[in-house]
C-alpha cells in the first residue's frame, strides 16, 4: 500500500465488510486520520493549501512594506497595528465583496475561468517539489522534472486566452506580448534543466537534490545558474520582465478588464508562479533541502533549510523589483534568442564534457 494514497485500504475494507454500522463511524474516522495523517498534513499545510496561501499573504504584505520603505513611504500602516499585518486580509475580503463587472462583448466562459486556472495550475506543479527525502506530495518518481515543465508550459496559454477573451485592445496587446515573452524565455530554461538532470544522472527531483550533497550545482553550472535565475523573473512576469503588464503603456495588459475577486486571483497567480519557480530554482541549483541536520530530526531540518533558502531568495527578488526599470519587448526577445539560448547550449555542452571526462 502506497503510503501516499489518501484512500487507504482500511476504509475500502470497512465499507465492504459486514461490520459496517453507524456506531463504527467515529472509530473509522479516527483510524482514517491516523493512517493518512502525513498526506493530509501535506495537502492542508505543507506544501499544499496552507503554504501556498500563507506565502501569498505574507509575500504581498512583505512586498508592500519593503517597496514602500525603498520609496520613502510607510506602506500599510493602519490595519492591524503599525505594521499593517491585517491589510492583506482586508484587501482580499474587500475584493470578494466587490462586483465583478463583465462587459457584454466578451467571451465570458473563458474570461471567468482563466484567472481561476492561473492560480491553480501552477499550484499543481508546486506539489512536485520535494521538501525532504520522504516529503513529496505528488511523487511521480523519475517523471517529476519533465512533469513540472509540462504543467508550467500550460501557464502561458492562460493569459493569452484571457487577453483575447477580454475584447479590448490593451488586453490584446498584452496577450501577444505574453506569447512572445514565453516563447523566447522558456527554451533556455528547459535546456538548463536538462543539463542539471544529466549531471545528477536522473530526472527524479529527489535524486537531483541528493546528488548535490557535496557541492551545489550552482558551482559547476554557473551559466545555467544565472540563466535560470533570470528565468524566475521571466516566467512569473516580475519586474524587470513584467512587459505584458506594463502599467504605464497598456493600462494593465491582459488583466485590464478584471475586477473584483477575479482581479484578486490574477494578483495571487503572480505569487503562486513565483513560488513554484523559485522552489524549482533552489531544488536544481542551490541544493534543495540539503543542509546540516538540526536536533536529530532529519525531515524537519530538511524542510527548515528549504524554507530558509526560499525566504532569502524571495527577499532578494523583491529587492530587485524596486531597483530596475522594465525591458522593452524587442530587447527581451533579443535577450532570449541571442544571449540566453546560445549560453544555455554552451552550458549543456560543458555539462556533457564534464560528465564524459568523469570530473563530476
Amino acid at each position: 500500500m502506497n503510503s501516499n494514497s489518501l484512500i487507504s485500504g482500511t476504509l475500502a475494507n470497512l465499507v465492504q465488510a459486514d461490520q459496517f454500522s453507524l456506531m463504527n463511524i467515529p472509530s473509522m474516522v479516527i483510524e482514517f486520520l491516523a493512517l493518512n495523517s502525513k498526506p493530509l498534513l501535506q495537502v492542508l499545510l505543507l506544501p499544499g493549501l496552507g503554504f501556498i496561501l500563507g506565502f501569498a499573504i505574507f509575500a504581498v504584505w512583505f512586498e508592500r512594506k519593503f517597496l514602500a520603505r525603498a520609496m520613502l513611504r510607510v506602506g500599510p500602516y493602519y490595519c492591524g497595528g503599525r505594521a499593517g499585518v491585517l491589510q492583506v486580509f482586508a484587501d482580499f475580503l474587500k475584493l470578494f465583496m466587490k462586483e465583478i463587472i463583465i462587459p457584454t462583448a466578451i467571451d465570458w466562459p473563458f474570461f471567468v475561468a482563466m484567472p481561476v486556472f492561473l492560480s491553480t495550475i501552477p499550484s499543481l506543479a508546486l506539489l512536485l517539489i520535494p521538501f525532504a527525502s520522504n516529503w513529496v506530495l505528488w511523487d511521480v518518481g523519475s517523471l517529476s522534472l519533465p512533469m513540472f515543465f509540462a504543467i508550467m508550459g500550460i501557464a502561458p496559454l492562460i493569459p493569452i486566452f484571457s487577453g483575447w477573451a477580454s475584447n479590448n485592445k490593451y488586453s490584446f496587446i498584452g496577450a501577444w506580448r505574453v506569447a512572445y515573452m514565453y516563447i523566447s524565455g522558456e527554451i533556455p530554461l528547459v535546456i538548463c534543466a536538462a543539463g542539471v538532470a544529466i549531471m545528477a544522472g536522473s530526472m527524479d527531483l529527489v535524486k537531483i537534490v541528493e546528488a548535490q550533497q557535496n557541492m551545489w550545482f550552482a558551482v559547476p553550472q554557473f551559466i545555467g545558474f544565472i540563466l535560470f535565475f533570470l528565468g524566475i523573473f521571466i516566467e512569473s512576469e516580475r519586474t524587470p520582465f513584467d512587459i505584458p503588464v506594463a502599467e504605464v503603456e497598456l493600462v494593465f495588459g491582459w488583466r485590464t478588464e478584471y475586477s473584483g475577486i477575479l482581479f484578486g486571483f490574477t494578483m495571487m497567480a503572480e505569487y503562486v508562479l513565483f513560488q513554484a519557480w523559485t522552489l524549482m530554482f533552489i531544488t536544481l541549483y542551490l541544493g534543495g533541502f540539503n543542509g546540516p541536520v538540526l536536533m536529530g530530526m532529519p525531515t524537519a531540518s530538511h524542510i527548515f533549510w528549504l524554507l530558509a533558502k526560499f525566504f532569502v531568495l524571495v527577499v532578494f527578488i523583491i529587492l530587485l523589483r524596486c531597483v530596475f526599470p522594465r525591458l522593452r519587448m524587442d530587447q527581451m526577445i533579443k535577450l532570449g534568442w541571442k544571449y540566453m539560448t546560445p549560453l544555455a547550449l554552451l552550458n549543456l555542452f560543458f555539462v556533457i564534457v564534464m560528465k564524459i571526462l568523469g570530473v563530476v
Binding site: F324, R326, M329
Partner: protein, 371 residues
C-alpha cells in the same frame, strides 16, 4: 471626432485620458504589432479659454488665471505676463524685487524639472521609486514657497511693478540649507537613474531629433537644447536679474531621450547655483514700485518672451488704453513640443513601449498647451 482614416492592417489605440500615464490628453496611436506608424495628438481636454478670460479682467487680476497655466511652474508663467505689462506701461521695477523674482522663478524651475525627472523614471517602469523621491524633495521647495508667499502651488507673488511680499527674516539661510540638501540628493539621482544600465537601455538612441528637424518643427526648451542648439530666453532677452548672475546654458549633443533627461538634470544644477548666488548677495531696497491696482495702459502691442521650465513662453499683449487688455496671445511651449512629438513617429522607429518614455522626455503640461 473626424479623425484621419485608419489605414488597413493597422490598429488604432486610444492612449487616452483614462490611462495611468497619459496625463490630461489623448494620443491616438496607429499600431502594427509593436511598431507605431502614426501618432495623432488630441489636445484640448483642459481648455479653459484663458485668452478670452484675460480680456475681461483688469491687469492685476489677470495674473491669477495666468498662474494657473502651469501648476508646477507657476512663477515662470506669471513672470511672462507681468513683464509684458511692465513694458507696456513703462514701469520700473526695483532691484531687490528683480532678484526676488529670479529666486522664485528658479525655484519653480527646479520644481518643474524634478517633476519631469520623476515622471521620466516612472515611465520606464521604474516602479515609482524615483518619482516619490522627487516628490519628497519638492516638499523642501514647497515649504519655502509657503513661507514666502503663503501658498504652495499657484501663488500670485508677482505684479507689475514688484512683488507682493519681501523675504521674511532668515529666509536666505533657509534657501542655502535647501540648496545644500538638494545638491546631496542630486548626486543620488545621477547614480540611481542615469547610470542605471537598464535605464540607459530604454533611453539611449530612442526618439532621435536631429538639430535640423528640431529647428524646422519648432521644438523649444530642453527638447531643443537636447539636440545641441543653445537657445535660452534667459540669455537672449535677459529679464530680471539673469543678466547680473553667472550661469550657463546647458546643451547636449546626443539628440535622444537620454540627452533631454541630462539637460534637465544639469539645469537643476545651474538653478541651484543661481539660488545660492541670490541668497548670498541680494541687494537691499524696496520691493514694490509705484503701483495702481486699476492701472490703465496706453495703446500699443508688446511681446515678452521668457524661459519656462518647458520652453519658451511668449505673451503678445495688445492694449487699447482701458483697464483691461484688448487681446492676449499666449505662445505656449507645450503646443510646439507636441507637434514635434507627432512627427517623431515618422523620423524614427518608435515602439509602443517607447511612447511613455518619449512623451515624458518632451515633458508636456497640457494646461498650457490648451490654455
Amino acid at each position: 471626432m473626424r479623425e484621419p482614416m485608419i489605414e488597413p492592417d493597422v490598429m488604432r489605440i486610444s492612449w487616452g485620458p483614462q490611462h495611468p500615464m497619459s496625463g490630461q490628453t489623448r494620443v491616438l496611436l496607429d499600431v502594427d504589432g509593436e511598431k507605431v506608424h502614426r501618432i495623432i495628438a488630441d489636445l484640448g481636454f483642459t481648455h479653459r479659454g484663458i485668452e478670452k478670460i484675460l480680456e475681461n479682467r483688469s491687469f492685476f487680476s489677470g495674473i491669477i488665471p495666468v498662474d494657473r497655466m502651469a501648476m508646477v511652474d507657476t512663477a515662470n508663467m506669471s513672470i511672462g505676463y507681468v513683464t509684458a505689462i511692465e513694458k507696456a506701461a513703462g514701469l520700473e521695477v526695483p532691484e531687490r524685487a528683480k532678484w526676488i523674482r529670479t529666486l522664485v522663478c528658479e525655484m519653480s524651475r527646479i520644481n518643474s524639472h524634478l517633476y519631469a525627472f520623476g515622471l521620466q523614471a516612472e515611465s520606464t517602469g521604474y516602479f515609482p521609486a524615483v518619482f516619490l523621491w522627487t516628490t519628497v524633495d519638492r516638499e523642501v521647495l514647497l515649504d519655502l514657497f509657503e513661507e514666502l508667499t503663503g501658498a504652495r502651488w499657484s501663488f500670485n507673488h508677482f505684479f507689475p511693478g514688484g512683488v507682493h511680499h519681501d523675504l521674511p527674516d532668515g529666509f536666505a539661510d533657509k534657501v542655502l540649507k535647501a540648496v545644500k540638501y538638494l545638491r546631496g540628493r542630486f548626486k543620488d539621482y545621477w547614480d540611481a537613474m542615469v547610470e542605471n544600465p537598464l535605464f540607459e537601455n530604454r533611453c539611449d538612441g530612442v526618439a532621435i531629433l536631429k538639430p535640423k528637424d528640431a529647428l524646422k518643427l519648432g521644438a523649444t526648451g530642453p527638447v531643443l537644447r537636447g539636440s545641441g542648439i543653445d537657445i535660452d530666453m534667459r540669455r537672449e532677452e535677459p529679464y530680471d536679474a539673469y543678466g547680473d548672475l553667472e550661469w550657463e546654458v546647458i546643451t547636449e549633443d546626443a539628440c535622444d531621450v537620454m540627452a533631454r533627461t541630462k539637460v534637465r538634470y544639469h539645469e537643476i544644477g545651474q538653478a541651484l547655483n543661481i539660488m545660492e548666488q541670490i541668497a548670498q548677495s541680494i541687494p537691499d531696497g524696496p520691493v514694490k514700485g509705484r503701483v495702481n491696482a486699476f492701472m490703465r495702459v496706453p495703446e500699443g502691442e508688446y511681446i515678452s518672451r521668457v524661459e519656462a521650465g518647458r520652453g519658451e513662453l511668449g505673451f503678445h499683449l495688445f492694449t487699447n488704453g482701458t483697464g483691461n487688455p484688448y487681446r492676449v496671445k499666449i505662445n505656449s511651449p507645450t503646443l510646439r513640443n507636441m507637434y514635434v512629438f507627432e512627427r517623431l513617429a515618422e523620423l524614427n522607429e518608435v515602439f509602443v513601449a517607447d511612447i511613455p518614455v518619449i512623451i515624458n522626455s518632451i515633458d508636456p503640461w497640457y494646461l498650457d498647451s490648451d490654455r
